[in-house]
């Protein structure tokens, strides 16, 4: 649209002339570069009417402001969405904590679930950092606070929870790798367990006010027909729960062995356990690089720790059936610890547990072992191997134990 502007030239400037129009108002009009009027001339200009650009600024400003506000609002919506956590990583060592992560695996928030954890993550600035950095930082801190160390392997349980409908990626795998990497860098040994869970599972755990990992322990225990009060569980860390579970299962095993309980019942119990394990799609793996030997070793380490725990509990237990064997077991330990290298010591320790449990288990539960196999292939294989040996020897006394230790040593060599 064009508009005619008539007026007297009041002033000539580089890009425009100021006209006084017939009605007495003033107009600034861009002029033709090749026809400059003189002051006082009466001229007519045709001007394109584009109110946005040629109109005065007072009209443009509110429009620009409005556009800016709209833009800001839109940006806000899109900016805040990724701030919602997409994943949750619950880590239990002894300090248990939860990391909420966005889609790009940047940490949004870190919450400690017990006092230990709060102490560790205190003044830890994680917001927006990559998960690998944060995990490494946590591992360093844990090491400094002696939750992790080189000679007493800890168990790290991590649960990967998908909060939104993301296709399950290899994230759980990579979490494990990240942990392994930082553990290796810090020369710390630990056993890793990584699970993947849905959001529902997390919610259930939250309902009973438990961390995801202790909720799993609780479930396993209750499936094992161990009677646990949920309130007790709430106050205990994963480590303690593990001990309780061990204790309980041992006690049961012992009972079974003694009373030669019906295999059907046991099988039923086992089946339920399997179910829970299936539901939680367990990955079990070792800390170190998956070479066969290393795996074995870590497996043994785990066993060793379990054994240690058993040993600790032993005196307090005072159960008549077991007490004898355990004492002998304890006696046997110092002898072994004389062996020169640290590694060997560990191995021997590790070899103990089978001696403790398996001789009793071995006879009544050959089937059981087979059933377990598909779920936990590596572990089961090794255990089976161990058991096989123990069965070969088919003795319940210490000499067998020693023999096994020797066996494993030979194997390692």
């Amino acid at each position: 649209m064009k508009q005619k502007i008539k007026g007297v030239v009041m002033e000539v400037q580089e890009n425009q002339v100021v006209l006084m129009c017939d009605d007495g108002t003033f107009r600034n009009v861009p002029h033709d570069q090749h026809d400059i009027p003189a002051i006082g001339e009466y001229v007519t200009y045709r001007v394109k009417k584009s109110p946005l650009l040629l109109g005065n600024r007072k009209q443009v400003l509110p429009l620009v402001a409005l556009a800016a506000i709209l833009l800001f609002a839109i940006m806000n919506v899109s900016l805040f969405q990724p701030q919602q956590p997409a994943y949750l990583l619950a880590v239990d060592i002894n300090p248990s904590m939860e990391l909420s992560l966005d889609e790009d695996l940047h940490v949004i928030e870190i919450t400690g679930l017990n006092e230990d954890a709060n102490r560790v993550i205190k003044d830890l600035d994680v917001k927006g950092q990559g998960i690998d950095k944060v995990i490494n930082e946590i591992v360093v801190r844990l090491k400094n606070d002696n939750y992790l160390s080189a000679d007493t392997p800890a168990i790290i349980t991590a649960t990967w929870i998908e909060l939104q409908d993301h296709s399950i990626s290899n994230n759980s795998r990579s979490v494990e790798e990240i942990f392994n990497h930082s553990l290796g860098e810090n020369h710390v040994e630990a056993e890793m367990e990584v699970y993947v869970e849905s959001e529902d599972y997390y919610k259930k755990a939250k309902e009973v006010d438990l961390s995801v990992n202790s909720y799993r322990m609780y479930q396993e225990m209750s499936n094992d027909e161990v009677e646990v009060d949920i309130k007790d569980v709430q106050n205990k860390s994963v480590k303690e729960l593990r001990q309780i579970a061990k204790k309980a299962s041992e006690r049961k095993n012992a009972e079974r062995a003694n009373s030669s309980s019906s295999p059907e019942k046991e099988e039923a119990a086992k089946n339920t356990k399997e179910e829970t394990e299936n539901s939680s799609s367990k990955h079990n793996s070792s800390t170190s690089v998956p070479k066969k030997e290393d795996e074995k070793q870590s497996e043994k380490e785990k066993n060793g720790e379990e054994n240690k725990q058993n040993a600790e509990q032993a005196p307090s237990k005072e159960e008549k059936h077991n007490s004898d064997k355990k004492r002998t077991n304890e006696k046997s330990r110092p002898e072994k610890s004389n062996s020169p290298s640290n590694d060997q010591k560990k191995q021997k320790k590790m070899e103990k547990p089978p001696s403790n449990e398996k001789p009793e288990k071995a006879n009544p539960k050959p089937e059981k072992q087979e059933q377990r196999d598909p779920e936990i292939p590596k572990k089961a294989e090794e255990k089976a191997a161990d058991k096989g040996k123990s069965e070969e020897k088919s003795t319940k006394e210490i000499p067998k134990d020693q023999g096994k230790g020797n066996d494993s040593n030979k194997r390692e060599e």
Partner: protein, 236 residues
């Protein structure tokens, strides 16, 4: 500045008042530049050769102006500057550019045409004189023409209202006196005697000052017609 004033000042300058000469040049600066732009068909700044030549020409025009020959001063200035610039273009081989202008001038040779041309020139130069005067007055209030667009009323109704404000204002001599003494709009005093909203006056303040100045100079017939046009237009 009335015709007599200009003649008087030029007379003084021709007798040797250099200070007056400076003032006069300063006063006509915008006009000189606009003439340069007009003749060159291109906007020129004071940095251009043409502007310097025009300034020298203007200086000579002051020395040679003779009111007895029947030309207004501005008309004479325009003539001199135009001639000087054409000379300059010829020297610089810009001849062809300027020929068009020359043709135009030659065409106007017929008597009727030339009389018409003469009247038009007279009119233009008288308006120009008024505008230069207005510019000079407004500069005291630090108002430039280019600002006035933003402060002009856009609607007929507001235009009328603003004109009423201005007319009411000039009827009170004390207010006018205050305006020129303080060089700013005596808002408080004016609001005491007239019932207008501060916001309205503040919005159009610069424009109001401009038309007050125009209304206070009845000798600016051409500019007056613009404002009177407006009043008439509204009455229709």
């Amino acid at each position: 500045m009335k015709q007599e004033d200009i003649e008087h000042i030029i007379n003084e300058i021709q007798k040797g008042n250099e200070l007056r000469r400076e003032q006069l040049i300063q006063y006509y600066q915008p006009y000189i530049l606009s003439v340069v732009g007009k003749v060159c068909n291109k906007f020129k700044t004071w940095n251009d050769d043409e502007a310097s030549i025009a300034l020298i020409a203007f200086n000579r025009a002051i020395d040679t102006y003779d009111p007895q020959k029947g030309r207004t001063f501005l008309n004479y200035v325009y003539l001199i500057i135009h001639r000087e610039l054409v000379d300059f273009f010829r020297k610089e081989n810009h001849y062809q550019n300027v020929m068009k202008k020359g043709d135009k001038l030659l065409e106007a040779n017929h008597v009727k045409e030339s009389v018409k041309q003469y009247h038009q020139d007279q009119r233009i130069s008288s308006i120009a004189a008024e505008i230069i005067d207005l510019d000079d007055q407004l500069s005291q209030f630090y108002i430039r023409f280019e600002e006035l667009e933003a402060h002009s009323p856009k609607q007929k109704r507001t235009r009328k209202k603003v004109l009423n404000i201005a007319e009411e204002f000039i009827q009170r001599d004390t207010l006018v006196e205050q305006l020129f003494n303080r060089k700013q709009f005596p808002m408080k005093e004016f609001l005491k005697v007239a019932n207008y909203r501060v916001k309205t006056i503040e919005k159009y303040r610069k424009y109001i000052i401009a038309i007050i100045i125009i209304l206070l100079h009845p000798e600016w017939k051409n500019l007056q017609t613009f404002l009177r046009n407006k009043v008439r237009g509204e009455k229709k």
